[in-house]
């Protein structure tokens, strides 16, 4: 019987994950599977509910990015009511969403990505975590990180009443507006967050780009994937997180499609495998061709890097500077190096902070026309937002009484199910070779493949050791004969 390696559990996208590696008799990788072992069935159990309740229910798909589900749901519900939304509400929702992005991106970069670079990818796992990062960069910076993330959460709370599991969006607008005294409280926080994004970029340049080994790892490690790119863009093909059209560009830069939310069904479909509860989206026009890379592949990724790959420019000036510098340094656009997602995240965060500044300066933002009462029920809506970890689609239909008759959800991380499966196999096959026993180092190198995709849990903030629990088990003839585990 061939040996197998199980990596179980890994922390994942929204719950639990598992990697199963099958070895040949010579010790090389025969095959590798990335499996998601759970389902909760939202698409079924929201049916029969008042449609306006859905945004309050679907937040519970993910407590790490609830605002993404809330906004996509709210937009789908707006569609069900004919689409009229108070213009001020659109601004407020967008403003909220930028703060939400910052909280998530800070958490991911500092708690999960930074340990690999600040401490080093093969440093002692006991200190390769956020505490190790704090030890290296100093308590002052550690405190600044916690403060910045807490401010991003607080801005959401002021705007929408809640951050995790917000209940704020309502057909035609939002349930509460922003008072002048609340705006006064937000302003200094936004100023600090803007400074913090600049600081983060500088830190990245010093720590990561200042180290040729890291640059080599990013550009030439096994962490590349020849698949297509997806992201939401505005009319100028600049990234937009709350609204816009979905643009898909192949890895050589050719636009494959650009569709409005209502046309998602003609462009994206989902494939099912019996060995995972999570579906595998692909480009529908090309058909399902299996887990294959290449210019004709129907597999795409939806990540911070893919968003910047499909964008021709950023929407704000400082972010534009960062964008030009990033692609100038990488010397390829689109960039296929998955690790560049960490950099892309910081570039996006600059746009988030600049947009928050813009809204703080908007004289209309504290207005009181944040809701309109819907005039009728048209019965169908598709809402697409760019969740932090990928394009998120919610499609609802309802009857004439506004009761949900169907819901279809294509979730941010789900887009990346196939790419994660593929890159896991690629990294494992690169590292586990005949005659080479996998050692503790493989754990972090496999994890790094994951981390570039920011699996949903990583955004949860300054997680302590900030690493995914991985276990590699080598089984020979049904007996465990070697095991690797991180030390606590």
């Amino acid at each position: 019987m061939a040996k197998t390696i199980s990596i179980d559990p890994i922390t994942r996208l929204e719950g639990h994950g598992k990697i199963q590696i099958f070895l040949n008799d010579d010790g090389g990788v025969k095959d590798c599977y990335f499996q998601i072992p759970e389902l909760r069935g939202f698409e079924r159990f929201v049916v029969g509910r008042p449609i306006e309740e859905l945004p309050r229910i679907v937040t519970r798909i993910c407590g790490v990015c609830p605002a993404s589900h809330h906004m996509a749901g709210a937009k789908a519900v707006d569609g069900c009511f004919g689409g009229e939304v108070a213009p001020l509400a659109l601004k407020l929702r967008d403003m909220y969403y930028h703060a939400h992005y910052i909280h998530s991106h800070i958490a991911h970069f500092y708690a999960l990505a930074a340990p690999d670079f600040v401490c080093g990818p093969t440093s002692d796992p006991a200190t390769r975590n956020i505490l190790g990062v704090v030890a290296k960069v100093g308590l002052e910076i550690g405190g600044a990180v916690i403060k910045a993330r807490a401010q991003a959460q607080r801005i959401q709370q002021i705007l929408g009443g809640r951050f995790t599991h917000l209940v704020w969006c309502i057909p035609g607008g939002v349930s509460k507006g922003l008072k002048p005294e609340e705006l006064a409280e937000i302003r200094p926080m936004v100023a600090n967050l803007y400074e913090f994004t600049q600081f983060s970029l500088k830190l990245f340049k010093d720590v990561v780009l200042g180290n040729p080994e890291y640059v080599d790892l990013i550009l030439n490690g096994p962490y590349t994937l020849d698949v297509q790119n997806m992201g939401l863009v505005d009319g100028n093909n600049a990234p937009n997180f709350y609204d816009g059209k979905v643009r898909v560009v192949d890895f050589k830069g050719k636009e494959l499609c650009k569709y409005a939310p209502k046309d998602y069904m003609n462009n994206v479909a989902e494939h099912v495998e019996p060995w995972s509860y999570l579906k595998f989206p692909y480009l529908k026009q090309r058909g399902w061709k299996g887990f294959v890379e290449g210019i004709d592949s129907s597999i795409y990724m939806a990540t911070p890097l893919s968003r910047l790959n499909v964008a021709e420019r950023m929407a704000t000036p400082k972010a534009q500077e960062a964008f030009e510098e990033m692609f100038g340094t990488l010397k390829q656009k689109p960039c296929r190096a998955l690790m560049a997602s960490h950099w892309a995240r910081l570039v996006e965060m600059v746009q988030n902070a600049e947009m928050l500044r813009k809204y703080c300066a908007d004289p209309e933002i504290t207005g009181d026309k944040y809701r309109v009462i819907p005039h009728g029920i048209s019965g169908e809506g598709v809402g697409i937002v760019e969740a932090m970890r990928g394009t998120l689609t919610h499609h609802y239909t309802c009857d004439k009484n506004g009761i949900c008759t169907s819901a279809n959800l294509i979730v941010g991380t789900t887009n990346n199910n196939a790419p994660i499966h593929m890159v896991t196999k690629k990294v494992a096959s690169t590292l586990i070779k005949p005659g080479v026993e996998p050692n503790e180092g493989i754990l972090n190198l496999v994890e790094m493949a994951f981390r570039s995709f920011d699996p949903c849990f990583s955004c949860a903030t300054h997680s302590l050791p900030g690493q995914m629990p991985l276990e590699v088990k080598i089984v020979k003839n049904g007996e465990v004969y070697r095991e690797f585990r991180r030390k606590c």
Binding site: I36, P37, P125, W168, I170, Y264
Partner: protein, 321 residues
């Protein structure tokens, strides 16, 4: 491992991650917890594995904090494992406490859920007949995923629970207060207590003006512009506040939106949904059966309103189709 430190584990079953975020939203306090405790397992943050837990002596953990409901065989297995190894077990958040939002699925059977997710769905490839199965034979060998159960259970359906910390998610300040108590080694309340919440109803803490609760017509939240100062129920907007434990900080009514009951029933209440329904029936301003009927037409999906978070803890339990 430091014997003097508190040995703790945090785990999630069928959950969304919001409970873990609630722990992390205690901000710098989490560093104090890390200093005072050995976190032996916390999939989001620390490094314990199932194997490590299995290798422990029974009762070696001082505390296990479990969030999420029980939806699959894996959820059940780990809940039982952690129970065996822990002196104290806390059901953290609405899902572990009452079943939570995932328990809304108990109105449907497993086949209906699978059909919608994998077979009849606008973006599923034409002709797909594949659905996830516990065991799949592939060329290279055997692949396994957990069994999806017929229904969702709350944690104490599966294991003995010492304390309940309610909320979806629990308010971070409540989480902090409870963790502080545990870390300081202070006297703990009686087994079975609900912690991190009050014994009052949400209405008692809600600042909205309450006058007379008599309603001729129910409205859905989008149908009228709410008066931000006045009780939502009095305005005809269904709000579960009177039948729900307080402790969240009144966060939904303060957002101008009605409560949906995530903190669970008041002390001594057997079925939160029944209490919510009696609150509704008590405010209908009519004695005429035909008129009452008409007023009630303004309410849709009463089950999903009364049992938004508590289906697994209700007398109804689940669909038996």
């Amino acid at each position: 491992m430091d014997k003097k430190k508190l040995q703790i584990a945090l785990y999630w079953g069928a959950a969304c991650g919001g409970c873990d975020v609630a722990v992390l939203d205690t901000n710098e306090f989490i560093l104090d917890v890390a200093a005072a405790c050995d976190i032996r397992m916390w999939p989001i943050a620390a490094d314990g594995k199932y194997k490590d837990i299995e290798a422990m002596a029974d009762g070696e953990l001082d505390l296990a904090i479990f969030n999420g409901a029980i939806r699959t065989s894996e959820n059940e297995h780990i809940a039982k494992l952690l129970r065996k190894k822990s002196k104290t077990m806390v059901a953290f958040g609405s899902c572990a406490h009452l079943g939570g939002i995932p328990a809304m699925a108990n109105q449907f059977n497993k086949e209906e859920i699978f059909e919608k997710a994998y077979l009849k769905n606008p973006s599923i490839q034409e002709g797909n007949a594949a659905v996830p199965t516990p065991h799949t034979r592939v060329e290279a060998g055997e692949l396994e995923i957990p069994v999806f159960y017929k229904r969702v259970y709350k944690l104490d359906d599966i294991v003995d629970v010492d304390y309940y910390l309610p909320g979806c998610p629990p308010a971070p300040e409540q989480v902090k207060a409870v963790l502080k108590l545990i870390v300081s080694g202070g006297p703990l309340p009686a087994k079975g207590s609900v912690v991190g919440a009050s014994d009052r109803a949400l209405c008692d803490d809600c600042q909205r003006k309450k006058e007379e609760k008599m309603v001729k017509q129910f409205h859905r939240p989008w149908q009228i512009l709410q008066d931000p100062e006045r009780c939502l129920m009095e305005q005809g907007i269904l709000c579960a506040g009177s039948a729900t434990r307080s402790g969240c900080g009144v966060r939904c009514p303060n957002s101008n939106m009605p409560c949906r009951g995530c903190y669970g029933p008041l002390p001594g209440v057997v079925d939160q949904g029944a209490k919510i329904l009696s609150a509704v029936s008590s405010i209908i301003d009519s004695k005429d059966p035909a008129e009452i009927e008409k007023i009630l037409e303004g309410i849709q999906d009463i089950t999903g309103y009364a049992y938004r978070f508590g289906m697994a803890a209700s007398l109804l339990q689940r669909s038996v189709r």
